[in-house]
Symmetry: C2
Subunit: 346 residues, 2 copies
């Protein structure tokens, strides 16, 4: 091990000296980092081959640079959807002989930034992240890319960064759920939306709105309730109370941004003897396990957390593998299918 390391160090220096480049540039060129020009990369590779830096010591040096560790950042671990994502990421990592450093941003942008720095300091080979609801500045993600570290966003992505992404079609899924309610004869359909920032919250709202408009139902903004960044059980309970105060029985259905909001709302409606689905039909989003055991059972959209984690990890490991082989990859965008699960609440 030590000997290979020394051989590598000497040879890198030799290449650097002969080409009048820095050792860093040579090292980056051999690893096909995007911030080294193709011309420089080619010069380095040609000389590396000439000096017998390939095939063996080259392979060894590349192998030695791998930390066999990836970093994963999710907003929350106490969260059914993300726990399924983590489950499948861990499984894929194991298959690839990788370990996973797990972090949670707690929906805190500053913490997310700090965590990225920590992961970069640890020398991880790649990073998987689902962004916090408060993330809008993406410099910390651009930093990962500038270092040539593969990056895959999942679920809570940002549109304006050019990397691989794995998500569902939030707009289409919401559209289907609301269309189902309309087909069942509902016209006064309320929506509990998530915060203003997260893309999935925006897209679910837009899907809701489009379903109304496509079916000639007036969009009434007073039926849309903005939930705070947690969008949890208490939020659902509180907003259901407001909804009934505001609209009495002039509302016949409710579509929520997630299942926790729906179950909070259900709890309030049950507590004041408003019948679900007879008085108000209800559909959630994400299909948490508990949705199948509440009374009445909750209709929801299966978000396939398991598949989202699996696909994200597979793409990341592919990109890591290509990088260490010097192959440049193009970002992929994967849309994972969802499924509307109809239970007793609608």
């Amino acid at each position: 091990m030590n000997q290979s390391k020394e051989m590598k160090t000497i040879t890198l220096k030799e290449i650097a000296n002969q080409l009048e480049l820095s050792v860093t540039t040579v090292s980056k060129a051999l690893k096909a980092y995007p911030d080294v020009s193709k011309k420089t990369r080619d010069r380095v590779k040609t000389l590396a081959e000439k000096l017998n830096y390939v095939p063996n010591s080259f392979a060894v040096s590349l192998r030695m640079q791998k930390s066999k560790t990836i970093g994963v950042i999710v907003p929350e671990t106490v969260h059914y959807f993300f726990s399924k994502v983590i489950d499948s990421i861990l499984k894929e990592a194991e298959k690839n002989n990788y370990v996973v450093i797990l972090m949670q941003s707690k929906e805190d942008y500053e913490l997310e930034k700090k965590q990225i720095d920590l992961l970069l300091n640890k020398g991880v080979d790649g990073i998987l992240i689902s962004l916090s609801n408060k993330t809008s500045n993406l410099d910390h993600l651009k930093k990962i890319q500038a270092l040539g570290i593969p990056l895959v966003l999942f679920d809570k992505i940002a549109k304006t960064i050019n990397c691989s992404k794995v998500k569902i079609d939030d707009r289409k899924s919401a559209y289907e759920a609301v269309t189902y309610l309309i087909k069942k004869g509902h016209k006064r359909i309320a929506h509990f939306r998530g915060g203003l920032n997260p893309q999935n919250s925006i897209d679910r709202f837009l899907g809701y709105k489009k379903a109304l408009l496509d079916n000639d139902i007036n969009f009434d903004s007073s039926l849309v309730y903005l939930c705070d960044n947690d969008s949890d059980f208490d939020d659902g309970f509180k907003n259901a109370k407001k909804l009934i105060q505001d609209h009495g029985n002039n509302v016949d259905a409710l579509f929520t941004m997630n299942d926790l909001l729906a179950i909070g709302a259900l709890n309030y409606l049950n507590s004041v003897n408003i019948n679900v689905p007879e008085d108000i039909a209800l559909i959630g989003f994400s299909n948490w396990f508990m949705s199948s055991v509440v009374t009445p059972t909750l209709s929801s959209i299966e978000q396939n957390g398991y598949e989202i984690g699996e696909k994200s990890a597979q793409i990341l490991f592919h990109e890591i593998d290509c990088k260490f082989k010097g192959i440049i990859t193009k970002p992929q965008q994967i849309i994972v299918d969802t499924e509307l699960i109809i239970r007793n609440s609608s």
Copy 2:
């Protein structure tokens, strides 16, 4: 960085040569590993001081040996209790500037063994583990200790290994729940127990049994149902069906090993119009979030996953800190309090 590394390497060798010891032994002695005798440790430290290996380069070398990484193994990540444990471990790690490599054993002993090896290869500074239900041979844990790596067991512990442990008093908690049912007038109390191997499953069963005996109620083994290693919703549903087939209405209460079993049982009882709590009172264990939103709401025992994770991590970081300072610590056993939460099911 590189310079300090080299200084350290040379000095370690010098000490080793002068004392006719291996570099490994010297390194271990400086880190106060228990497998190096006190005599050798003292000889090494004396010479290290003489050669000016202290205070600065010593501190640097110690600092450099830290990976600032701990390993955490849980049986499952898609699990409300463990997700709370992970939440608080991550928080403690962050406070201590540590990162966490997370693994799940999936209740598989061979996998757990392999994961320990992986963590040791990664050079983690300490390991937190909740054992798989199938773990009875503890050689893999002894290996961690032989290497002088701090180890803390939590929740699913093994009695026969001498390390720090954080858990609840399962026997006492179960005893309290069953005593509550008895005080409410129930006499034919069934129990859905977990597998035969896990200590917490054994202890909850023993607490159940003792409560009966202390209250002069005959222990009837036909009222105890053995659940398989998953002890999940389906298991609860299936065993509730069996319970009613076996005992008809000659059973008036049920205490289960966990909430998923209780909610599975509740689902079966609801489906055949057996009223909870009127016909059969029900108490679960662990107080999963969903227990507060099912109908009727489920009585349970709050297991304080958050506190268990927090205490375990605090002890581990304390032991790591002591180790790197050359202070030998004694294993601690912490019992975290539980609380019987009475809701509508009992």
